[in-house]
Symmetry: C2
Subunit: 143 residues, 2 copies
């Protein structure tokens, strides 16, 4: 993933993402990891049946990596895992929320200017003016 | 959508959802509507470029209905709309969060036992025991 996409202030949404996800041989649905304490949405991934069952068994947020087509127990090796507090299901039963507690330094693979992994993946907002999108800005305002 | 799926206590996740979404002619990414005050995740939908630009222009959470293949300005006709407070973007720029304020009665199309539209779509949790899934239960415990 390019530095510009992850750290830049130009909006460049990859609208082809879901078509790529759907090319994965496994059937998956969106899984949102949300901090149980603060309500912050940390990361959105995808789960198949095995990933959900593994999450329940291990007590850690688990996804199906649709790019590598393999099970992804988040943070299992690094220690930066997301301990599951609760798992919610929507009305139509086609998405889930992992309510989690972050064990470790951060849940995003990117790092802030000080070199610390970011707590979650949603660290930028759209900059809006006169009903139009003018780019991105960092939520904390300083980066 | 069947009553059993929406109101029942049996887990019956539709893992084929994302493949269905991807059959839509439009390129879309996940869009999470989250209550700006409580942090509650209300609904997950999908957006294309037009839906996001419309959301910004109208100031209301807007999705692309992948089943009807049309623009869906949530609550525009009913008045139960989601006023946009902020729009966040993730590291890889392939999903967004609408931080919203609910104007109206509820954001879910289902109704609780009293006939009131539910505030959000995630009103049930997985019931877990010994690392296994035992079904669903209502978050408020009473339904």
């Amino acid at each position: 993933m390019s530095k510009e996409i992850e750290e830049g202030l130009n909006l460049s949404l990859d609208y082809t993402k879901l078509k790529k996800v759907a090319q994965c041989p496994e059937d998956v649905i969106p899984a949102i990891a949300q901090c149980a304490d603060t309500g912050e949405v940390l990361i959105v991934g995808y789960v198949n049946k095995l990933a959900l069952e593994t999450a329940v068994k291990e007590g850690m947020a688990t996804f199906w990596s649709t790019s590598r087509n393999e099970l992804w127990i988040k943070g299992k090796t690094s220690g930066d895992y997301l301990e599951i507090k609760d798992i919610l299901v929507n009305c139509e039963q086609n998405s889930i929320i992992y309510k989690v507690s972050l064990k470790g330094k951060g849940s995003c693979h990117t790092k802030d200017k000080s070199g610390k992994p970011r707590y979650g993946c949603y660290y930028r907002r759209l900059k809006l003016s006169d009903g139009k999108i003018k780019g991105l800005e960092f939520l904390n305002g300083v980066e």
